[in-house]
Symmetry: C2
Subunit: 190 residues, 2 copies
DNA sequence: GGGCCCATGTAAAAAGTTACATGATTAA
DNA sequence: TTAATCATGTAACTTTTTACATGGGCCC
């Protein structure tokens, strides 16, 4: 729904999957239902219009068809401009506001990074930035609880504490991710 | 965007805050900017139309004004039907699909429970149901990782592992919440 | 009186949801 | 041949976003 400036989250997810190899609308629908990450609609009413938009903007283009069984099938691949836009989006460091209430978008970016060929150092820098934002957000939540917690109804306070526990979970994951990324031998991505 | 059947998430959040006492549109905007839980837009273009819809459907009604300083101010309170609808929403046990990709909605329900006067036993049952769903989802993610994890690009796999860590965070919180709720003396809510 | 916050709204445009429509191909 | 699956789309509707518009009260 949001004319949020650049491509929508669905469009970016589409670009991300397409980036891994030409995909038809039907492929993409299946990818979204099969994959645990991302809760995107598998409805044709979302995907086909989104593909049409991406095509109009020159971010994707029809790929030459290989498997020429009789079926009608329109596979798309990224155009040069599409690849540029996608990489620019991937490289955007996590913003404070995003970390506070749109971690899905941050994780979506991260998920596509190695497949898109970002090098280890860039990915590590992203993780470092993310950790800083998460720590700040954690402090903010703790401060809020200290200030307003006592006056809140029990389940309200518990809900905020849940947010806190989540951020701690993210921070634990950051440590894990850094270990995995650090351990990987140089140039071992994709 | 979604005509998902009942009231939208924003509408439910509005009902939830109004439930705690009469609120004007401006109050609600402030509540959404000040509160850490929930990332709702503070934009008038979202809130005033939503209030108008709720009013048309008979879920809220203008409250008699108390602070009669000169300012124009239209405060709303829940109608009887509004209270019924809100309670019915609160009491809906968490569904599997919700736990997988809309925990925000689950937490939003939980946050309003004690203020709305649900009794401790109901809240505990909700938490028990939630734990069951979370455990099932955890197993699902673990299975996915065992099956598909090896074939995934590194950051893709890490992103799924992040989802896993999150679910573990939620489960830790469930244990904490149960302890808090169990410890509270009978009838100590709101 | 001028500027700032309070307070409520509207208008245009975009994106998603549900539901429907259509046709080809494969398998029973 | 009949049903299921592959595959792509359209139409109506709803909500949200951004941006603008308006006006009253308060404080210096």
């Amino acid at each position: 729904m949001p004319p949020a400036g650049g491509p929508s989250r669905l469009e970016l997810a589409l670009l991300g999957v397409i980036q891994g190899g030409p995909q038809s609308g039907y492929d993409l629908r299946k990818a979204f239902t099969a994959t645990p990450l991302s809760h995107f609609s598998d409805s044709p009413g979302a995907i086909y219009p989104a593909l049409a938009r991406l095509r109009e903007r020159g971010l994707i283009e029809p790929a030459p068809r290989e498997r020429s069984d009789g079926r009608r099938r329109v596979a798309f691949r990224l155009s040069a401009a599409g690849r540029r836009a996608f990489l620019a989006w991937l490289r955007r460091p996590p913003a404070a506001e995003e970390v506070a209430n749109d971690m899905d978008a941050v994780l979506l970016r991260f998920a596509f990074m190695s497949q898109a060929g970002l090098d280890l150092e860039e990915i590590r820098r992203f993780v470092d930035d993310l950790e800083g934002r998460l720590s700040a957000h954690l402090r903010g939540l703790e401060l809020f609880l200290d200030t307003a917690g006592a006056a809140m109804p029990p389940t309200g306070r518990l809900a905020v504490e849940c947010g806190l526990e989540l951020v701690r979970g993210y921070l634990r994951w950051v440590a894990h991710a850094r270990a995995q990324l650090g351990a990987a031998p140089k140039g071992e991505h994709a």
